[in-house]
């Protein structure tokens, strides 16, 4: 066992990359749940984004257009859910699960001709001299645009929810949709917008897997990442900062445990394999001891006549 073989800078750099898909998907779902809607279709929207992004990136040769297509694809799929739950007033849990099944099947169909194809490489942002700073250069200034987008989005969502009027309305709709409605806010419109935003984020996260992390297309390649993102939102008490922390913890421990294995640490592999889940849940549960509760109207159907 020789821990010196693990390079902390490279470890932290891979942590940033490994946590990005979960972070993006979880941030999207955070906004959806803050608006009072429970969308269990994250996995389906992610994989749809993954294939949409892959197809467009391969055909146009531009990863940027691929990521754009992924957000549109994820959004488009989430709008099916929006119509079902906000217009047709269907059960949110059932609709969300159906969305996941549909997304997995659809992506498999769309991806038929794309197995074994290599996508164009996503360039890293060039920070010039900043990238040469020892340690910090490798950790913070060696990534692609999507990684920074995830961080910027975390900050933006935090500011929006805490300090802006739009955030207040969104939270109001999520806490008590009847009161928000009585005050004249368009509950359904706010929720549809939130759902579409959630779909876009999930799609982006999915494309990050197929275009950067793996990068290739295979059936079912998101392999449960969407479910982890969903759980993360709950354990993070619906707070953007804690979502970031949770994503880093999960991504970090995942990367760390593989590194520990490779370094030959004498911990049974079975424990190492379950450690990302255990540690993330444990830390976030301890942190949520401040009794933050779920948005009051979460998962409840809203109809203006009630």
């Amino acid at each position: 066992m020789d821990l010196s073989v693990i390079n902390p800078a490279l470890l932290l750099a891979s942590l940033m990359v490994a946590s990005t898909p979960i972070l993006l998907a979880a941030l999207g779902e955070l906004m959806v749940e803050r608006a009072g809607v429970l969308n269990l279709g994250v996995e389906g929207m992610m994989i749809t984004g993954a294939i949409c992004g892959f197809v467009i990136a391969v055909n146009t040769g531009s990863p940027g257009l691929g990521f754009l297509a992924a957000t549109l694809g994820g959004s488009a799929l989430s709008l099916i859910f929006a119509v079902l739950t906000q217009v047709a007033l269907a059960n949110q849990v059932a609709s969300g699960l159906a969305l996941t099944l549909f997304g997995l099947g659809l992506s498999s169909l769309m991806g038929q001709g794309y197995v074994g194809v290599k996508p164009p490489a996503t360039p890293e942002v060039n920070f010039g001299p900043l990238g040469d700073i020892p340690f910090f250069g490798a950790v913070f200034f060696s990534h692609d645009l999507v990684v920074y987008l995830g961080l910027a989005l975390t900050a933006a969502i935090w500011v929006m929810l805490k300090y802006t009027r739009a955030g207040l309305i969104l939270r109001g709709v999520g806490e008590n949709h009847d009161a928000a409605h009585a005050l004249g806010y368009k509950v359904v419109r706010v929720r549809i917008a939130a759902i579409a935003f959630g779909g876009a984020c999930a799609g982006l996260g999915g494309a990050y897997i197929s275009l950067v992390r793996v990068p290739q297309w295979t059936d079912g390649m998101t392999a449960g990442t969407g479910w982890i993102a969903l759980a993360l939102v709950v354990f993070a008490s619906w707070k953007a900062g804690r979502v970031l922390l949770g994503a880093w913890l999960f991504g970090g421990v995942t990367v760390l445990q593989l590194n520990l294995q490779a370094a030959g640490v004498a911990i049974p592999v079975e424990y190492l394999n379950m450690s990302p889940y255990l540690i993330t849940i444990l830390v976030l549960v301890i942190m949520s001891a401040d009794r933050t509760r779920a948005p009051g109207s979460l998962g409840r159907i809203f109809h203006a006549s009630d």
């Binding site: 074994g116 290739q216 294995q261 370094a263 079975e270």
Partner: protein
């Protein structure tokens, strides 16, 4: 998704059954796959074998398959379903299908079963596998010669004899040409999970590995090595030629087609009997994919000579003296490992570090 797939399979098979009634003398051959047929590796090669059957027998044989069947309880359901749908011969193509295959076979005495990479047989169950460790010996030889960091990364799937044999064989042959070589092994506990395989490859590369050997089925580690730029890989189960000539410098190809055609013919002729087949380079079940020019010429020549020696039966990758990891002697000078020990191999050879998980 599984439900959806099951439904689609059921629907497809219902159509197939209807067609089957019209031509009662067609032989129906089924395949159970552990990954998607587009994995570019293990399942892809089995499916090539299935397509070879179709091409060879034409209308006399009909094939069906179900992909991404998880090992364990679900496998039993999938195999049963295939048997109920009238398959005459069923190939179950992953180690974890062994007990499910035996269980289902007991209920369908008239159906013939063939299980890949296991060790159990029954009146209507044969098993077959390939001596992948012969290919690993070639990989080890090339890896030991080409590594500059002396660190070889190994992405292992499950701690079963087949995988352990591969690690031992690769290590012995890398060590033979490079005494300083060190193997770093990551157990990912999956045959197919591109994200996890990519993460494992990156973790190994971060720790200085400049050679990555994989015993998992997707091409994700190849993509990770390509992104790193200076890391050598080998195609696993399939040629993975799209990643050549570098990082993929050679490969182990599993060629199941001749075996599948032979066994299907035996069912048609009524001559099928239980066998335990374990073929290697000599019969062509294991092929070594093109060694590219990224490999130094003399290393390539040595590797090819080793392949020929194994083909002719003059060289066995496990030839003594070999000591086990715990220091007890295993094979004496010149002694060759017997198939029984190889089939149940549950120990590392001397020099490998770490423990095999239970």
């Amino acid at each position: 998704m599984k439900n959806l797939k099951t439904f689609i399979t059921a629907a497809a098979v219902a159509v197939g059954l209807a067609a089957n009634c019209a031509a009662a003398d067609t032989t129906k051959v089924g395949f159970i796959y552990v990954g998607p047929i587009g994995d570019g590796g293990w399942t892809y090669e089995h499916d090539k074998g299935r397509l070879a059957i179709e091409e060879h027998f034409g209308d006399a044989v009909e094939t069906v398959f179900q992909e991404s069947v998880s090992e364990g309880a679900d496998a039993e359901r999938a195999i049963t379903q295939m048997a109920l749908q009238g398959a005459d011969l069923i190939f179950t193509t992953s180690f974890g299908y062994m007990d499910p295959t035996i269980n289902v076979a007991a209920k369908f005495p008239d159906v013939k079963f063939e299980h890949a990479t296991g060790y159990k047989t029954a009146d209507n169950v044969s098993n077959y596998s390939a001596r992948f460790y012969e290919g690993r010996a070639v990989q080890g030889h090339i890896a030991g010669n080409m590594t500059e960091s002396n660190i070889v990364g190994y992405i292992a799937s499950y701690p079963i004899p087949e995988v352990i044999r591969g690690i031992n064989s690769a290590y012995l042959h890398a060590k033979a040409v490079n005494p300083d070589v060190e193997f770093r092994i990551i157990w990912v506990y999956t045959w197919f999970d591109p994200q996890k395989e990519a993460d494992a490859a990156n973790a190994l590369i971060d720790q200085g590995a400049d050679i990555i050997l994989q015993h998992t089925d997707s091409t994700a580690p190849q993509a990770a090595a390509q992104a790193a730029g200076d890391v050598v890989t080998f195609g696993q189960a399939s040629d993975m030629a799209e990643y050549g000539p570098f990082p993929r410098v050679s490969s182990i190809i599993d060629n199941w087609a001749p075996y599948y055609i032979e066994r299907t013919k035996a069912v048609i002729d009524g001559t099928w009997e239980t066998v335990a087949t374990w073929d290697g380079i000599d019969t062509g079940m294991v092929e070594i994919g093109e060694i590219t020019d990224a490999v130094p010429a003399e290393v390539k020549a040595e590797a090819l000579a080793m392949v020929e020696a194994m083909r002719a039966g003059e060289y066995h990758p496990f030839t003594g003296p070999i000591t086990k990891q715990d220091g007890t002697p295993w094979l004496a000078e010149g002694e060759v490992a017997d198939d029984g020990t190889l089939a149940g191999m549950d120990f590392y050879v001397e020099g490998l570090t770490g423990e095999i998980p239970n």
